[in-house]
């Protein structure tokens, strides 16, 4: 199997699966309709782009790659008028429907018909007294979302899922080093940095940018523990990469012992939904709080609290 993604860090299962489909495409000119799913910042778009870069037209040229933001698609008419007819029809192209959970209902229904292909590599879709020809040997369709639960299930059934995982500490250290080839990390400081990146490749790239700016401002290319402590202090990076809202949650629980979700939301001044979705999950994941009827801080959470 070819290694098409050696320039990208981590996501080994994704690399193997996509490499399999690329090898198969080079023999058959066919590719399943892929659904890239996973939390934000895990590299779905980057992998989709790299995948597309390895798809070749019949004349041997690389295929163009069209990336659509689905939240800006309002209906079938707008899609076929602005996208399909000028850019897709009769072209060899790869199309990424990013944030595909936001597809409008009528286009979702149209896709149920279009992507309902068992054996054929062509599909004729008739809509509004017009006929649209899809040729899946010429056009490759990729979907990506952070919210698979919001995709219409029959559409999801027609797509082949590619699941992205969170990055481990070694992967994140490697992303940092890849982004900063000029910087020399000493005393394993990159491990400590990786612990604050929340398993997210995009955050690793952003952290690398901060380090680049720090090194640039100091006019040097060696980055050690003292530099990291200095940078953390200057830009407000907290242990395990927790946010300042999460710090408030830990402090509130530390002060009051335990709290209901409503009580905690009132203390922090946030909606219960935002508190649960954006903050509690991470604190639970890192064993900093526990929920047993009420929210309570754990011993690990107390240790973190003491460092504030």
């Amino acid at each position: 199997m070819n290694n098409y993604f050696s320039h990208l860090v981590g996501q080994n299962a994704v690399k193997k699966k996509l490499s399999f489909y690329l090898d198969a495409f080079h023999k058959t000119s066919q590719c399943p309709f892929l659904l890239m799913s996973g939390a934000k910042g895990l590299g779905k778009t980057e992998f989709a782009k790299s995948f597309a870069k390895n798809l070749y037209n019949q004349d041997g040229d690389r295929r163009s790659f069209l990336e659509l933001n689905c939240s800006t698609i309002k209906n079938n008419e707008q899609f076929f008028e602005q996208i399909f007819l000028p850019l897709v029809a009769d072209n060899e192209i790869t199309i990424l429907f990013d944030e595909c959970h936001a597809l409008p209902l009528d286009l979702t229904m149209a896709f149920l018909t279009i992507f309902n292909t068992e054996k054929n590599s062509r599909k004729t879709f008739e809509w509004n007294e017009m006929t649209f020809e899809f040729n899946f040997k010429q056009q490759t369709f990729i979907f990506a979302t952070t919210e698979t639960d919001k995709i219409f299930p029959p559409l999801k059934d027609r797509l082949t899922n590619v699941d992205f995982e969170t990055y481990d500490s070694d992967d994140l250290s490697n992303i940092l080093k890849l982004c900063l080839p000029e910087v020399v990390f000493i005393n394993n400081v990159e491990k400590d940095i990786a612990s604050t990146i929340r398993g997210n490749a995009r955050s690793a790239v952003k952290r690398a940018k901060e380090i680049e700016l720090y090194c640039g401002s100091k006019n040097r290319n060696v980055f050690g523990l003292n530099d990291w402590a200095d940078l953390k202090d200057q830009v407000g990076i907290l242990p395990l990469g927790i946010t300042h809202t999460e710090k408030q949650i830990l402090e509130a629980l530390n002060n009051c012992g335990s709290a209901t979700l409503t009580g905690l939301a009132a203390k922090i001044g946030m909606s219960k939904t935002a508190l649960q979705r954006d903050h509690e999950l991470y604190l639970l994941n890192k064993d900093l709080i526990e929920i047993d009827g009420k929210r309570k801080i754990t011993s690990q959470g107390l240790t973190i609290c003491k460092t504030f």
Binding site: A52, K53, L66, T72, L87, E126, N128
Partner: protein
């Protein structure tokens, strides 16, 4: 027209059994056996008897559809041969 087949039961499971959905008048009229303009499906639609209000609603819907068609889909096109 793009047509998909789905049972009322399945559709109800997805969008809710009380959700109002647009259907063609010419399809509904033969089923009801009367002019749809004189028919109220439920009390919340009684307002529709007011022709002026109906006209306002229709023009709002048409203008929404027109603005949806005119709004631009955001996209980026990459040609790898030029990279």
């Amino acid at each position: 027209m793009g047509i998909v087949e789905i049972s009322y039961e399945d559709l109800g499971d997805w969008i809710g059994k009380k959700t109002k959905i647009p259907i063609l008048k010419k399809w509904l009229e033969p089923i009801l056996g009367e002019d749809i303009n004189n028919f109220c499906i439920d009390s919340s639609l009684k307002k529709c008897h007011d022709d002026n209000r109906r006209s306002d609603i229709e023009s709002d819907i048409e203008s929404d559809i027109e603005s949806d068609i005119e709004s631009k889909i955001e996209y980026s096109l990459t040609n790898f041969e030029n990279e």
